[in-house]
Amino acid sequence: MKKILALALALIMVFALVGTTAWAEEPVTLKIWFHGSNVTPDASQKVLDELNVYLQDKIGAKLEVIWGTWGDFDQSVVTALAGGDDVDMVFTCNWSADEYNRYARDGYWVKLDDMLPEYGADLLSVIPEGIWECAKTNGYDGIGIYAVPALKDTATQNCWDVNGTLLAELGYDVDAVCEAGLDYYSDEFEEMLQKAKDYKAAQGENDFYPLVVEPMVLERLVTVTSIVTGDLPGAAVLSFYYDKDHPSNDIGSEIVNKFATPEFEKYAKRTYELAQKGFISPSTQNVGTSNDYLNACQQSASYLFGTQSYAYGCEIDFSNARGIDVRMVPADAPYMDSTSGQGAMMAISAVSKNPEKALEFLNLLNTDPYVMTTLNYGLEGFTFEKNDDGTITFIQENRANYSPWRNGMGNIRILPPTADEGLSYWDDFSAYYNSAEALPYGSFIFDNSVVETEGAAIANVFAEYAFGLCSGATDPDTVLPDFLQKLEAAGMSDFVAAANSQMAEYLAG
């Protein structure tokens, strides 16, 4: 018996020894957390098995992916960060719950400025200076870069979404109308709406409303103002007016109370007038139904004009999805600000044991087409096939099980174009976004925590009035003065002044 025991102990020791030596040679495992993915465990396993062979060879690391979805990302990532989970890289941005700027302030991300030249040299050169500028924020360790911004659709441009098929049916020359642009205040604009309404009514569709919009977007589009990053979430009360044709021109504007300008009053009056004439649906004017109604109308192509925050090439996708000729008519030139620059980023978590390795990986992800393609599109022969001309075609069956959110990963401009997009897609894509000018205030981010009390009071007033005014549900003649008065009482002047003084400080250096 003793012999057997001794033998067993000896064996355990040998295995333990083998175990530890094997451990020492084991490559570093990096864990990364993406957002908005639709990936099944089997498909993920298959892709990662192959990718990891390549990664071990290149940087001596293995990748583990948490495929966060749209719905539960916010909740679970916030818990995991607070609980100190061992995740190395986390998706972040300025619109989800793990808000980039706030978490940088609270010390959840590693500051990258000093590490970038050594571990991310290629990254520094691939991502344009302007985008790096947008990624700078005032974190726990001073102003700096706390996450790697994605080189994706990095500009904002407001467009009119025009139902070209319907417009042609009304007897218009679609190209000419789109070429000339649309003027919200013109009689022609109203005439087109009226014609569309009459045309549909003649077909027996009495509940057709030609203007189907997101009211808050329409307001920005018509008044030519930008969002101020750091404004109240869900209650944007600040506006910045910019030059429609050359957004970078300094036209001497400051951050203002969105609702106190003559431009806004003009907009609200016009919208109310159009709504009174039956061009805007009551469903659009109700916060609860507005979005669903918009989606339903877009899918069934039952609109004449809408609004769209433009993404390069989206008219093709929309035309296919809706079965009509969708045209995008720009209302201004594309511009770049921190909102567009911080749309998708990868941060390195402060609890990561291998931040250098993680940065090396992000460097590779953003510069090595194989890594980006594999992670984003999957494997050749599994989720896509290569065509002779260099484009790819998806194998829909497997692609459905492996669809990460394309824009959420990083430099998507090194992906191969799909056959639908055409060979020159990414060149045109880059050309379009590189042409975007930065707004005069650069990548300024308003820190509204200094006027938190005012902010809460303002948000309440906003919820009561703003949507009705922007969607033409309420008459500005009677409502707007009340609204402005209540905003003042809630501390709007202090809020705006705080934003302006911070901006002046930022611009001074």
Partner: protein, 303 residues
């Protein structure tokens, strides 16, 4: 017999009123579910044109076929849900019975302390983050079935119900008699006390099985990489949350959100999933029903 009123009977008029009230209440309970079934069988085009309706313009089984063929995870999730529910219900009911039995026995020395221990956690929770840290980092409850079962094992509320139940239905003399007859503690518990407490056990078991079947939050917290372990509810929640999130965020995400939203499951698919989820647990009710009625009335003075 015909002339004499039955004991406890009420007048025909009152009975009619009761029936109408209860009937209306039942209809209120059933209609939403019938509506969900109708929507799940409506053609997508019909919903787009006229919205939800009891009489859709066209019927279609397409979404069911799609759900069953194209979402392989559904079957796996079904299996997960059933496994978690069965194992979880068994273990949690057992633990609940054991714990509350000890609290019920007057000769248990540390009754006061253990009573306090369970009662205290009912009022003061540890908070989300500390719970999460303990579960993942100390107990290793992540990416495994245990993470979906263990956190729900002990419910102080059920323990209190069960203890009260023991008090009202198990006479101490019975235990004493069993002891005198030479029965050990375990044998007394399993052979004498539990059979008497069956209705109570069934009630607790039903509460537990509902809790396990309906739970999605544990999966959201602890199952991230190994999503194959997701129970059915978590799968549904995920699909539903995705759609809502994209709608809510469309202003800040711009065009990419709208592109994503077109890939999101349709409204009928969501209803199909609701039907697939509700049907199995609805089948559990008749099974437990007779015990529950017994459990509700037992201990009360019988007429």
């Amino acid at each position: 017999m015909t002339k004499n009123h039955r004991l406890n009977s009420i007048s025909a008029g009152t009975e009619a009123v009761f029936h109408v009230v209860i009937g209306l209440f039942s209809i209120c309970c059933i209609i939403p579910f019938v509506f969900v079934i109708i929507i799940s069988l409506s053609a997508e085009s019909s919903i787009r044109e006229i919205g939800y309706s009891f009489i859709p313009r066209a019927w279609s089984f397409n979404t069911y076929t799609y759900a069953i063929q194209r979402l392989p995870q559904i079957w796996r999730s079904y299996f997960n849900s059933i496994l978690i529910t069965v194992v979880g219900t068994f273990l949690s009911t057992l633990i609940c019975a054991l714990y509350s039995y000890a609290l019920f026995r007057p000769d248990f020395k540390y009754r006061g302390f253990f009573n306090f221990l369970s009662f205290f956690t009912m009022i003061f929770g540890g908070g989300l983050v500390p719970t999460y840290v303990i579960c993942t980092q100390i107990l290793g409850l992540k990416e495994n079935y245990a993470a979906l079962i263990v956190p729900l094992l002990v419910s102080p509320f059920n323990i209190i119900i069960m203890r009260t139940f023991f008090k009202s239905s198990v006479p101490l003399d019975l235990i004493e008699a069993a002891t005198i007859d030479g029965s050990g503690e375990y044998s007394t518990f399993f052979r004498v006390v539990l059979p008497v407490a069956k209705p109570g056990l069934a009630t607790i078991a039903l509460l537990n099985s509902l809790a396990y079947w309906n739970d999605w939050y544990l999966s959201l917290l602890y199952i991230r990489q190994n999503k194959i372990l997701q129970p059915l509810q978590a799968l549904l929640m995920e699909l539903q949350n995705n759609v809502e999130y994209l709608n809510r965020m469309s202003a800040s995400l711009g065009a990419s959100a709208i592109q994503e939203a077109t890939r999101a499951p349709t409204q009928t698919l969501r209803m199909v999933l609701v039907v697939l989820i509700v049907v199995p647990i609805a089948c559990a009710y008749p099974f437990f029903q007779r015990y529950i009625v017994a459990g509700l009335t037992i201990g009360s003075v019988k007429g």
